[in-house]
Amino acid sequence: MASHADFKDRQFLAVIGDEDSVTGLLLAGIGHVTTGADAQKNFLVVDNKTDNAAIESAFESFTEERKDIGIVLINQHVADRIRHRIDSYTAAFPTVLEIPSKDHPYDPEKDSVLRRVRRLFGE
């Protein structure tokens, strides 16, 4: 597997979510801004005004372009907005994890991985 070689340098988490989730996770200390001219943040705050294209491009940059991210956390209601991208994402690295947010309780039915689990066991 090609991804085995490069996952050693994946040491950050990235987060796409609403303001509260992002704030909380940043408080835990996962926030990282790369040094240099093109400072890249590893988090994106999504609110009602953020359009889906911005979410998609952030998701793509976290999952495909950046090689230092091991886990992408994404709020479930945000994931719903780019559901087709999440569902078609099957790579092992980085891992995409859907997390609940304060206003949107967690719904296991929508989770792409849990749905795969269900499908595999024929439920």
């Binding site: 509260d20 200390g29 947010s101």
Partner: protein
């Protein structure tokens, strides 16, 4: 895929029969091994899916508690700290590293979280008031992220195992339903061809042997002939 049509293109010789037999044996051994591998992986896979299910539910609870502690902070600080936190994030304190776990020859990566020492981006957050709440909130969220990291390792293992199991099962099925029947067909074909050749050769040999045997018997009867004649002559003498 039925009957004698599905076989390998070989000449029906004793040598290729030997080769085919070795191949069949190899295929059967390989099939057994792969099947065992697939079973071991599937067992692990089921364990992981069960743990994912549990971990996802746990995550729901943990995140709820974390969100509540953030609400406490907002209340204590008396304003939104989101902007301040986002601006002061510089270098990650909470990082992950990966280690590998070997399950029947499949490398499963697992994430492990660790804290880097001596960097604190949010030293000033909550300095005015609510410092305690901020501290508590950070700890709560750190625990939540640990749970998330654990879940992420399970999920990675799930994705990789899923892929590997598919490949292994495909191989097992290919050996079981294509390679073994085909090799068996080839062996059958070679045997039948050899049998067809053999009777011809055998018959020739048999005829030769019989001819020789007949000749031998004839000469033997000639040898014993005179004594018989003598005996008969004796009897004639007695009558005469």
């Amino acid at each position: 895929m039925s009957g004698a049509a599905d076989r390998e293109a070989v000449f029906p010789t004793r040598q290729s029969l030997g080769l085919m037999k070795a191949k069949l044996k190899g295929a059967e051994t390989g099939h057994n091994l792969l099947k065992r591998k697939s079973e071991a992986l599937t067992k692990r896979f089921r364990e992981i899916t069960k743990r994912i299910d549990e971990a996802k539910r746990k995550m729901g609870r943990v995140m709820q508690i974390a969100a509540f502690s953030l609400a406490e902070v907002t209340y204590a600080v008396g304003g939104d700290i989101g902007y301040q936190v986002q601006e002061s994030a510089k270098s990650a304190r909470f990082r992950i590293r990966t280690k590998q776990d070997n399950v029947s020859g499949v490398l499963l990566p697992a994430f492990e979280s660790y804290l880097t020492e001596g960097n604190n981006d949010f030293g000033l957050t909550g300095l005015g008031k609510g410092g305690q709440q901020v501290q508590r909130c950070r700890e709560t969220y750190a625990r939540a992220v640990e749970a998330l990291v654990e879940l992420a390792s399970l999920q990675t293992a799930f994705v990789i195992l899923d892929e590997v199991i598919k490949v292994v099962n495909r191989r097992v099925n290919a050996i079981e339903h294509v390679i073994i029947p085909r090799t068996e067909n080839t062996i059958k074909y070679i045997n039948s061809e050899l049998d067809e050749l053999d009777p011809a050769a055998d018959a020739e040999m048999k005829a030769k042997r019989e001819a020789q045997a007949a000749q031998g018997a004839k000469s033997q009867s000639e040898d014993t002939g005179p004594s018989d004649i003598l005996a008969a002559a004796d009897e004639e003498d007695v009558i005469f």
